[in-house]
Symmetry: C2
Subunit: 209 residues, 2 copies
């Protein structure tokens, strides 16, 4: 098997150097360069093949999620492995949704890194142990502080998210618009939000929608 042509994208030169050192003796990896921002890796990819990208999500110019998409647009076969300090589950999930094949925290061991590189090279999706914990563990504020919605409230919430007005919803459900307004009010109270926009946001964050 040919070595994986591997690029490192991180705005900390130290991290780049560290990774280079850690990976220089790997049999299946060949570092083709370190890049400090999104622009430069995208530019490099226009004229060079890259099989694997070790990518930090926080970059000066482009955010990691967007960069993932751009990289995949440039070359679908390039595999992206995220190396980041960010431990928010939403960030992890979003990078995967945007085309990354794996996610490691920066404090991962060389073994985990090695293992993940092997897995993603095979086409699998791979996370470090710590990341799996984050993904699997329903966070306190997601499970605990999650308001209980009645059937009607849930139903109306969905219709609100579809952009419908109280009037329209009332017609759909054969209710008075005033009733729908009451449910709106109750939803706002239950979720402790200021308006419908914020309501939809937290509903998404808490996976109710």
């Amino acid at each position: 098997m040919d070595k994986l042509l591997t690029a490192i994208v991180d705005d900390h030169p130290i991290v780049i150097e560290g990774l280079k050192t850690m990976l220089q003796n790997e049999e299946n990896v060949q570092i083709v360069g370190g890049f400090g921002d999104g622009e430069s890796i995208l530019f490099y990819m226009k004229s060079n093949q890259v099989d694997l990208i070790l990518l930090d999500v926080t970059l000066p110019d482009i955010n990691g999620m967007d960069l993932c998409q751009m990289i995949k647009k440039e070359s679908l076969s390039t595999v992206i492995l995220i190396l980041s300090n960010r431990t928010e589950r939403s960030i992890i999930m979003q990078t995967i949704q945007n085309g990354a094949s794996g996610y490691l925290l920066k404090n991962s061991s060389i073994d985990e890194l090695r293992n993940c590189i092997a897995e993603v090279a095979k086409g699998n999706i791979c996370f470090s142990k710590e990341v799996i914990d984050i993904i699997s563990r329903p966070s306190k504020n997601e499970l605990q502080g999650r308001p209980r919605l009645t059937r009607r409230e849930k139903q109306i919430l969905i219709l609100i998210a579809e952009g419908k007005t109280s009037q329209t919803i009332a017609n759909d459900l054969f209710l008075s618009p005033l009733t729908v307004d009451t449910h709106r009010k109750n939803l706002i109270q239950k979720f402790e939000v200021k308006n419908m926009a914020e309501l939809i946001k937290v509903a998404y964050e808490q996976f109710i929608l």
Copy 2:
């Protein structure tokens, strides 16, 4: 190693039987029962240990995402492996976010199933090849039809999602409220939505928020 006490939850008896047959000769798996709905597995778990659940997302009583959470609430150590026909990426991601450790399509081979069971039992997250494709491939309507937002628009979108009014946003950004209104208007046009609630919804669906 002890055998994994494994429950099958699916509303099609044929699927339950098929899985039982497929897995009866596995060394590390012991089927403890088949369940046709969410209630019955939750009830069973109250008095019996279950290590692994093979779960269909579409059930008559409770939807798969919610059931995942309930199962994890009942027993955090129980590992959930989704077996489903649903190929929507959002469903796959949501089950994982809700505590599932893997996702297979029902037409997966016995080898893939065997492999995934082994992986999730080790604490890893595992998908079948087809599922990986779904997750990794940015779908047309997500990449293509995604409106390009300017920096300002994105910034204002975030503040709107926080429940702020035009007035408040204007204060935050040292702008005229009228300017903020213009950006609102442009956002509504770009996303082709009817109001802010729907805007936040599609922004989430397209991973912009």
